[in-house]
Symmetry: C2
Subunit: 461 residues, 2 copies
């Protein structure tokens, strides 16, 4: 079914974003609604990315708040945040009220303090805005930031037939698949038990649920962090866990799926950061200035690191002048050992994520990568050395290039393995900083090794 | 709680893997069981990684099959596959029988055909081994490969009280949190309906469930692929969907969580592949030869690509000889524009994943990256050009380096944006191939631009 939606026959004639733009111009709510609601989430993201800033803002104002909220829930988070920022606070508040609290909390958390307060101030329902403000104050990767507020709770003094009647009345609401457990609370709204389906369907209708519930259920605090939640869900087969605040009151449920999504988001960020997209996800629909400055913020320091490496070459100009062929191999030696080192970085980051190594396992990594570095270094050194010797007809040049690559590969692989551990130990982000640090080190050492070995053998070259 | 487990006081005296090794030597099942079952999943992964090959094999043989199966489910997949390969087929079969079918299916699928058949042949229960063989035949990223077989099904002719009695009898089994829906099947085991909790608890005890069920439930085929499943779960709030085979028989349930896990695995693989870890995840506990050859398999072709780039330098040796300072800036220009291009690669891969762009959106990417490339290229060019001019006291050298970096950045950013689209269109893997292709192009062009501009201005340098 989604396949069919993707191959939309309209796409070949008039693209949907143009039809939407037309509908917005004509103020035709129905057409806009039809196009958006028929599009798959993928297509919704694409359409919004294709619309210009003004049109997408007008679209959000044109659609009923409920439709806009649905649309926001399907967008990539970075898109939704951007769009929410653009909307007038009053309209944004209407949309936010229609979203699930975990989604709206995530979005508001990403906004400026000022923007977020402006929207919260426009929410009519005082209780709702208080709850949202509360939620925004939790870290995105804490149980409070990830929990769903769709939790079914009953007072301990309810009977089985009260519960069944309630389930019947709110069937619509509960059919929303997030409901998996029934929680029992006391008068102060503190979590005191959990009710299983089985005890409910098999209990007598007049029994009080406090006599059927499992008391002292396992719960987590609103402040429990993602890593710890991951461990808990790893260990037990729970689908969800109740989240309580400092007073022991039931605030929501954090599901295994929410944890999985947060972890997945972390991995995506690692991928982006390791490629130099830092400070949050970039979408091409963002303003050019914003995109340029964010990318430059990462490239800028790189110039300095590159200069550092280049200064090594500068101090050996005489050697280069004497054997110009070295200039051909300088970038090769540094590039290739950089690649070898990056492989080790990736393995370390992965093993840290899985808990297979801890930041204190230096020795293990040193030995394992050292042995691999020696093997691969020798293989690559022999190959490149042979190529250099034959190409330039100089055995000694081959020896210089080959041994430089061998030594630099060993160094780079060991460093690549260790850098993420050191960064992690000092609470820095391995995905972000490992690459630039490693590259600078291997460039410097690579240039130094080639040029220093060459100047020692200069009479033979 | 997991926090406490991580800071194990024993760790400071005798590390747990040594205690395990001792227990294995003494054949002391109880101690081995205690240590393993008290360790968190993170710690289990770490302990197994620290044990040598023989000891971990003996540990698996020493522990009861059920314990070993639990251990396997906590390990990283690559670890579990490796360990399963090492075990004698008979013991491996006992362990496999104790695992959930989705886990054992994933592991067996990763083994050699021969190894996997040897284990399947040792499974006594013919039906179980047939089902597993079936499951192994599905792709890992299809509904058949991801589904859980923990599905609660009832014949259409059962009554409400039959169902309640069954739920009561199998309470233990069903309390395992995977059960969320009740499915109704006909005599041929074909899926014909779904039963909601509400209709069950509110129905009369003597009613046949075929009169209460929702007929023609939404289902997916065993062959439905991950991407399509992602779209379906994106669009609707299902927690799980029934999976049927070609005959319409109910085979299992694929949960939203399984989809999320598979997507997360994909992202991890993208991260590893983009750093040159290809052909599957690498763990440092794998044999050295295996790790070396897998890493070399990716580095080897890189030598050739590097040579291609270096040959550009080789053809301008005269220019280099005349202006040796160029050698300092050659690696800088190619490195820096490579970094700029990699940022564009990461954004394209991310936008493709989100569905924001399609492989056919060349023009959009060209324009968006072109504008950014011009801006950042000019900024970086001016900065590096100025540095070069001041450092070497030559305005013309500054102009050559600055304009080479500007032009190469524009090219690299545009190429970086487009390469993933082209690879995706030709069904190649953007995460794997984008980096090496981009680097080769930007190295070649960077070297060419610097050296060609320099030879045109040679009299002024």
């Amino acid at each position: 079914m989604p396949e069919e939606l993707l191959i939309d026959p309209k796409e070949d004639t008039t693209p949907r974003y143009k039809l939407i733009a037309e509908a917005v111009d004509n103020g035709d709510q129905q057409i806009a609604h039809d196009i958006i609601s028929e599009a798959s989430p993928d297509d919704q993201r694409r359409i919004i990315a294709q619309l210009d800033r003004q049109t997408r803002e007008q679209l959000c104002e044109l659609l009923p708040a409920e439709d806009t909220a649905d649309l926001f829930e399907n967008l990539a988070e970075a898109q939704a945040v951007e769009l929410l920022e653009e909307l007038p606070a009053g309209i944004a508040a209407d949309v936010v009220e229609e979203m699930d609290a975990d989604v709206s909390g995530d979005l508001l958390r990403e906004l400026d303090q000022v923007d977020s307060e402006a929207i919260l101030a426009e929410i009519d329902d005082q209780q709702e805005s208080d709850e949202l403000r509360d939620r925004v104050s939790y870290e995105w990767d804490s149980a409070g930031g990830m929990m769903s507020d769709q939790v079914v709770r009953f007072p301990a003094t309810a009977t089985v037939s009260d519960v069944l009647a309630d389930l019947d009345n709110k069937a619509e609401e509960y059919s929303d698949a997030d409901v998996q457990y029934f929680y029992v609370i006391d008068d102060a709204k503190r979590l005191i038990g959990v009710l299983t389906l089985r005890s409910l369907v098999l209990g007598r209708r007049s029994t009080l649920i406090q006599n059927l519930m499992l008391p002292e259920p396992i719960s987590v605090s609103v402040h429990t962090k993602l890593e710890e939640l991951e461990d808990i869900f790893d260990e037990k087969a729970y689908l969800g866990l109740p989240v309580i605040d400092e007073e022991g009151c039931l605030r929501g449920v954090v599901s295994r799926q929410a944890i999985e999504e947060a972890l997945s988001e972390n991995r995506t960020e690692d991928f982006l950061k390791s490629a130099g997209i830092v400070g949050g996800e970039e979408l091409r629909s963002m303003p050019l200035r914003h995109r340029c400055t964010r990318r430059l913020a990462w490239l800028g320091p790189n110039i300095l690191l590159n200069l550092l490496a280049a200064s090594v070459i500068a101090s050996y100009e005489d050697t280069l002048q004497a054997v110009i062929a070295l200039a051909i191999f300088l970038p090769m030696v540094s590039d290739m050992s950089g690649c070898s080192g990056n492989q080790a970085v990736a393995v370390s980051i992965r093993e840290l994520t899985l808990g297979i190594i801890q930041p204190r396992d230096y020795l293990r990594v040193l030995i394992k990568e050292g042995l691999l570095g020696i093997t691969n270094g020798v293989v690559l050194g022999i190959v490149l050395g042979t190529i250099a010797a034959i190409w330039k007809g100089s055995l000694f040049l081959g020896l210089v290039i080959g041994s430089a690559l061998t030594l630099n590969t060993i160094l780079s692989v060991v460093l690549g393995g260790l850098i993420p551990l050191v960064l992690k130990r000092f609470k820095a982000d391995p995905a972000l900083a490992s690459g630039p640090i490693l590259t600078t080190c291997t460039d410097m050492c690579g240039f130094f090794l080639v040029l220093n070995l060459a100047s020692m053998a200069i009479t033979k070259l």
